[in-house]
């Protein structure tokens, strides 16, 4: 079952880390994830209706919308987490670099290795800080036991947590503060060296300082990863994202560059929402 080195779904060069400040030019980007006419239903209840959108490489895309609009459901569909919840019916096409995520010969375990996820509430394992980060690479055979310490350090550095925990790697993950726990969960995801990171309201349970730390981190991470973030915090979407999708009642109302969505929305509903008139 555990393959030490399995070939990537699609060969791809790791993009060069760009050192320039600010947002990158959109022309260089290619879609990494794509939804084509997708609908998702829990039993009889339709949560997402006929949504189509793309997430571009090395970009942060925010999905915003009022509670219950289906944004988290849509996010979880991209790494096949919905099927763990139970009676979920998904139609339409979810593509990862052109490959159908729901195709019969696709292994959901492989999908989740390439498309990592960070949850709303920090959910470290009841293990040490080290083990929290090392577990993913270890069970997936991504690193030899001797390579794990280096990999853990790299992931914790990328998650801007290393300096705070380097002297207490054997302490429980639960000994950290909420914000640190969430960065630990991000480090755990990074240690898998995924291609895409999905974040489901990652800062909603955190204080403003921790939230700012996570947002700063996202700017760093997009140099190497494609990031999708679900948030109900519009300021956060405006601050961190390159593209914004606005969902309401399971329908995609508007999708475009973040500046445009927030300053010149094409739809009246979007304008009402981003200006705080409802939601």
């Amino acid at each position: 079952m555990v393959a030490a080195h399995d070939a990537p779904l699609v060969p791809r060069p790791r993009p060069e880390i760009e050192r320039s400040e600010g947002r990158m030019e959109p022309v260089a980007a290619t879609p990494v994830l794509e939804a084509k006419g997708v609908s998702i239903a829990y039993g009889e209840k339709v949560a997402v209706r006929e949504v189509s959108l793309q997430f571009l490489e090395n970009r942060i895309t925010a999905i915003i919308g009022p509670s219950g609009c289906g944004k988290s459901t849509l996010l979880r569909a991209f790494n096949r987490m919905n099927e763990l919840i139970g009676d979920v019916h998904t139609t339409g096409n979810f593509l990862y670099r052109g490959e159908d995520i729901y195709s019969r010969d696709v292994d959901p375990v492989q999908v989740r290795r390439r498309i990592g996820m960070v949850f709303q509430k920090p959910n470290p394992f009841p293990r040490s800080i080290f083990q929290n980060v090392a577990w993913g690479p270890a069970i997936n055979g991504l690193a030899l036991k001797s390579e794990l310490p280096a990999r853990v350090e790299e992931a914790l550095r990328m998650a801007a947590l290393w300096d705070e925990v380097k002297d207490r790697l054997d302490d429980s993950g639960f000994s950290l503060s909420g914000g640190q726990q969430q960065r630990l969960c991000i480090a755990r995801t990074l240690a898998m060296e995924p291609d895409v990171i999905l974040l489901d309201e990652p800062a909603s349970a955190l204080d403003p300082v921790s939230t700012a730390a996570i947002e700063d981190l996202l700017f760093e991470l997009k140099k190497r990863y494609t990031i999708v973030i679900v948030t109900h915090n519009m300021q956060q979407a405006a601050r961190v994202s390159d593209f914004t999708a606005f969902l309401e009642s399971g329908k995609l109302v508007e999708f475009g560059e973040t500046d445009q969505v927030f300053t010149r929305p094409r739809q009246k509903r979007t304008e009402d929402y981003v200006t705080g008139r409802f939601g």
Partner: protein
């Protein structure tokens, strides 16, 4: 006139009824306690003088002053260990299957209802089943193995139900975190769900086993002996157990044997209390150490 002073007659009547209800509940509790204390004192008075090293280290005898419960004590120890070896893998395995793998359909629900019913089946029925299947069907005879397998059937539903409870209290966030890191179901269960559930499972197992220790009826049917003057050396040997020995002694006419039975009850109670205390200790410790 004060707004908050003594109220009307109706309010006073409500207070009286409240006080009466409290008294009623306290009395019901006291009743159970009193009965238990009376029973325990009687047994203690009758038996404690007989509990000594000679009693614990001797085989049963026709002479009360020479009789002891060594073979029963060892037999019970064998039964507990063998029953645990059989019922824990079966019970925990079933619980994991039902909680983590089984689809939520009519067949699963049917299984669940029947499991709950099985926990309520009188133990003598298990004894008859054990007699037919293990003693005669498998030809195990009146052996420790036949007795243990019968007790395993008896405690299996209890272990399954307790293990499922324990597994269910493991936060879903652990599973989601594991799956999101590319874990297979086995990896999520073995690495995260089971370790978190083990204190609860252990508590359930100990309580189930302490129930098995006190069981008499199924062992009588399966064929435990009332008089065993040796210590069993293997799983196919004849055996006796504490409740059987006690039952045997109470059935005799002489007063001295009744006192011996009381002494045997004291030993059995001590074993049970020790096991239950262990279960409570495990539960408390786990609750203290649980970070979530």
């Amino acid at each position: 006139m004060s707004l908050l002073g003594h109220g009307s007659e109706a309010l006073r009547a409500r207070h009286r009824r409240a006080a009466f209800f409290r008294l009623f509940c306290a009395a019901m509790t006291a009743f159970g306690m009193v009965v238990l204390v009376v029973l325990l004192t009687r047994i203690w008075r009758e038996g404690h003088a007989w509990v000594d090293w000679q009693f614990l280290s001797s085989f049963p005898s026709r002479k009360p002053e020479l009789a002891g419960i060594l073979s029963a004590l060892v037999g019970t120890a064998w039964l507990v260990v063998l029953t645990a070896l059989v019922s824990v893998p079966l019970g925990v395995g079933s619980a994991v299957y039902l909680e983590e793998y089984a689809p939520n359909n009519r067949w699963t629900r049917f299984l669940e209802v029947n499991l709950a019913n099985l926990a309520g089946v009188p133990s003598i029925i298990y004894g008859i089943l054990g007699l037919a299947v293990f003693v005669r069907g498998f030809g195990l005879g009146r052996s420790l193995l036949a007795g243990s397998l019968t007790l395993s059937l008896l405690v299996l539903p209890v272990i399954i139900v307790a293990s499922r409870e324990a597994i269910r209290t493991v936060p879903a966030s652990f599973r989601h975190a594991a799956y999101a890191l590319g874990a297979t179901r086995r990896q999520a269960v073995v690495h995260h769900v089971l370790p978190a559930a083990i204190p609860g499972i252990l508590t359930g197992v100990i309580l189930a086993l302490s129930r098995a220790i006190g069981e008499t009826a199924p062992l009588v049917v399966v064929g435990a002996f009332g008089y065993v003057a040796f210590v069993p050396a293997g799983v196919l040997d004849d055996f006796t157990a504490l409740p059987i020995q006690i039952y045997n002694w109470t059935a005799r006419p002489q007063e001295e044997f009744h006192a011996l039975a009381a002494a045997g009850i004291l030993v059995l109670l001590a074993v049970l209390m020790l096991m239950n205390a262990t279960a409570v200790w495990i539960r408390q410790r786990a609750r203290r150490n649980r970070p979530w």
